[in-house]
């Protein structure tokens, strides 16, 4: 009797195991066990907060207390309060800086992709700032820009009298440019490495073919290099726009939380939420920023579609030329 039930249990567990290793069951088992944690975390920390943000933005509330429903008043406040709205202007400095940064990165990536001495040294020198801790970067440049310190010493060594130099961090006509320069310092080399990675993936025989066709360096850049990096390029343009609105560490450290008119949108948002405890208003600010990001992405998609179509025909042309060329040789 007992041995009988034992056998039954054995048989049952055997069939359970058989059921378990059935391909279909196993497949779903793998899918669920492997995917469940990351998906839950994603929903919990990205999508749920976005939903909550939209909800909070309609209330007057702090982290501990809800004071009442206010409808769209928070949104109106963002555009009506000059101290908030003027941060968009500050972000424009960062956007201009980002364009300069991308242009410089493109220039250096291009010239380093041709044979140059000491490429490794130049590349390392320009790239390493990316690895510098943001807080450390803040202190480095606080030191750099202080009156009579590093920058002033270097400039006076070039014969510019100290009296004619501005206070880099205090003078409101220049201090935002000073901060933008620090973010250029940090990210230019990283952009350059990204671009040169994309340039490296270009088939080198294209250059040969092009130069035999009489293309100069500019033509090589315009018709071979540029199309090949259009993806990375548009991506970086987008990242720099969102980055310019959410710039945080430079004003946080260098001008002590955005003093002297250097507060960026994100600095104000942080202050609104965590110092002034106006969580509703801060949520509205975040929603506006997310909307801007989504709009930028849509525009980028459209631009990319257009650019891709163009570059597609370009590279097709060059390929055809190459084919003709190789046929000619044969």
């Amino acid at each position: 009797m007992s041995s009988n039930s034992g056998a039954a249990a054995l048989k049952e567990s055997g069939s359970f195991r058989a059921w378990l290793i059935k391909p279909n069951v196993q497949k779903w088992l793998v899918i669920i066990t492997f995917a469940i944690v990351p998906v839950i975390l994603l929903l919990l920390f990205i999508y749920y907060p976005i939903g909550k943000m939209v909800e909070f933005s309609l209330y007057n509330m702090s982290y501990t207390k809800v004071k009442g429903f206010v409808g769209l008043k928070n949104y109106i406040d963002i555009f009506a309060k000059p101290e908030l709205f003027q941060t968009f202007r500050v972000s424009l400095y960062y956007m201009v800086g980002a364009i300069v940064q991308i242009a410089l990165a493109l220039y250096f990536a291009t010239i380093l992709s041709f044979k140059t001495k000491f490429t490794g040294v130049y590349k390392a020198a320009m790239f390493f700032p990316y690895l510098v801790n943001g807080i450390a970067l803040g202190f480095i440049f606080k030191f750099f820009y202080t009156r009579g310190y590093v920058l002033d010493t270097v400039l006076t060594a070039f014969g510019i009298p100290l009296e004619s130099l501005p206070y880099w961090l205090r003078d409101q006509s220049i201090n935002n440019w000073s901060l933008v320069a620090t973010s250029l310092w940090k990210y230019m080399g990283q952009n350059m490495v990204l671009f040169s990675g994309a340039i490296m993936s270009v088939d080198p025989t294209l250059y040969e073919a092009a130069s035999i066709d009489g293309a100069n360096k500019w033509h090589q850049f315009r018709y071979i290099i540029l199309p090949s990096i259009s993806t990375v390029l548009t991506l970086n343009v987008i990242l720099s726009i969102t980055g310019s609105l959410s710039a945080f560490e430079p004003p946080y450290v260098i001008t002590s939380m955005g003093g002297n008119g250097t507060a960026t949108y994100f600095i104000k948002m942080h202050e609104t939420a965590h110092t002034l405890h106006k969580v509703g208003l801060a949520s509205a600010m975040a929603v506006v920023l997310i909307t801007i990001i989504i709009l930028c992405t849509i525009i980028q998609k459209l631009v990319f579609k257009y650019a891709f179509r163009n570059s597609g025909t370009d590279s097709a042309k060059t390929k055809m030329k190459r084919k003709q060329f190789s046929k000619g040789v044969n």
């Binding site: 010493t153 310092w185 801060a282 990001i293």
Partner: protein, 282 residues
């Protein structure tokens, strides 16, 4: 004609090298000036030009003082601990998810991919306004576990890199293993995971740099300044907005950035390729 062309070439070459040298010098200059300042005594720093070499390269008091007073030692321990845990978790989760998304067709596959794709659009620090409230409700503010979960949970980049890498791993590997009686779990752990090494190295580099340099979340979620310190928060809390002893500030800055620069110099190649791999879809 030929002479003219070569003259033009020389001028172009000259400007090319000039621009490279100027740009490199500008990149290095701020850090070099910190090195000079960090080795000076207080009096020497006040009296000499900021670009003058220090008199005694053996003057280490600034470093010692910073190390003793800032608690950055604890900061290093915490940062390294968080790094190890987060990298392990996110690489494991990322590769498991990438395996499932790449190898199996099922309802919801495309949905999950898109959810991750669009999540990459939103800078995670932007969501902290409401995540903070969520973390309060879960009692995860001021807790190392909370910080670790947050750093792991919002990592989308690793999943991309791994997903991309899976595309290049032939399915015939899986098939032959299954024919030999291997389960899907076995296929993943015994066959595919070891092959993912290059992609895992990329993730480790990107994630490691990110965590080592992370400040914002650490300042929000590890608030008890005496209990928890990461490298960044120790640096900021000690040097603060008001300190003006730049010889000590510079020493602190160097202690913070030198480890990562050494790692960069040793693993230059991997770092560059990590950057490029990570950025394709970033």
């Amino acid at each position: 004609m030929g002479v003219e062309k070569s003259a033009r070439d020389y001028i172009l070459k000259f400007f090319k090298h000039l621009s490279l040298i100027v740009a490199s010098a500008l990149c290095v200059l701020p850090v070099v000036s910190c090195v000079f300042a960090a080795f000076k005594t207080k009096e020497e720093f006040a009296a000499t030009s900021k670009m003058a070499l220090p008199q005694d390269w053996g003057h280490l008091d600034n470093f010692i003082n910073f190390w003793n007073d800032s608690g950055i030692g604890l900061g290093f321990l915490t940062s390294i601990f968080v790094m190890i845990v987060v990298i392990t978790l996110s690489v494991m989760m990322g590769s498991m998810l990438a395996y499932v998304l790449n190898r199996f067709k099922f309802r919801g596959n495309a949905l999950i991919r898109n959810l991750f794709l669009y999540a990459a659009l939103f800078p995670t620090i932007l969501l902290q306004v409401t995540v903070y409230k969520l973390m309060i409700q879960m009692h995860l503010v001021d807790s190392l576990i909370g910080y670790i979960i947050l750093q792991t949970g919002t990592d989308v980049i690793a999943i991309y890199i791994l997903l991309q890498y899976f595309e290049n791993l032939s399915v015939s590997l899986d098939e032959s293993a299954v024919l030999e009686g291997c389960t899907y779990f076995g296929v993943f752990f015994k066959i595919l995971l070891p092959l993912l090494r290059p992609a895992i190295v990329t993730c480790m580099i990107l994630k490691g740099v990110g965590i080592y340099n992370e400040y914002y979340n650490a300042s929000l979620y590890l608030q008890s300044k005496n209990k928890y310190k990461t490298v960044s928060t120790a640096l900021y809390n000690y040097l603060g907005p008001t300190k003006s002893q730049y010889e000590i500030i510079c020493a602190g800055v160097l202690i913070c950035i030198v480890p990562i620069l050494i790692i960069f110099l040793v693993f230059q190649k991997q770092v560059y390729s990590g950057m490029t791999n990570g950025a394709v879809k970033g």
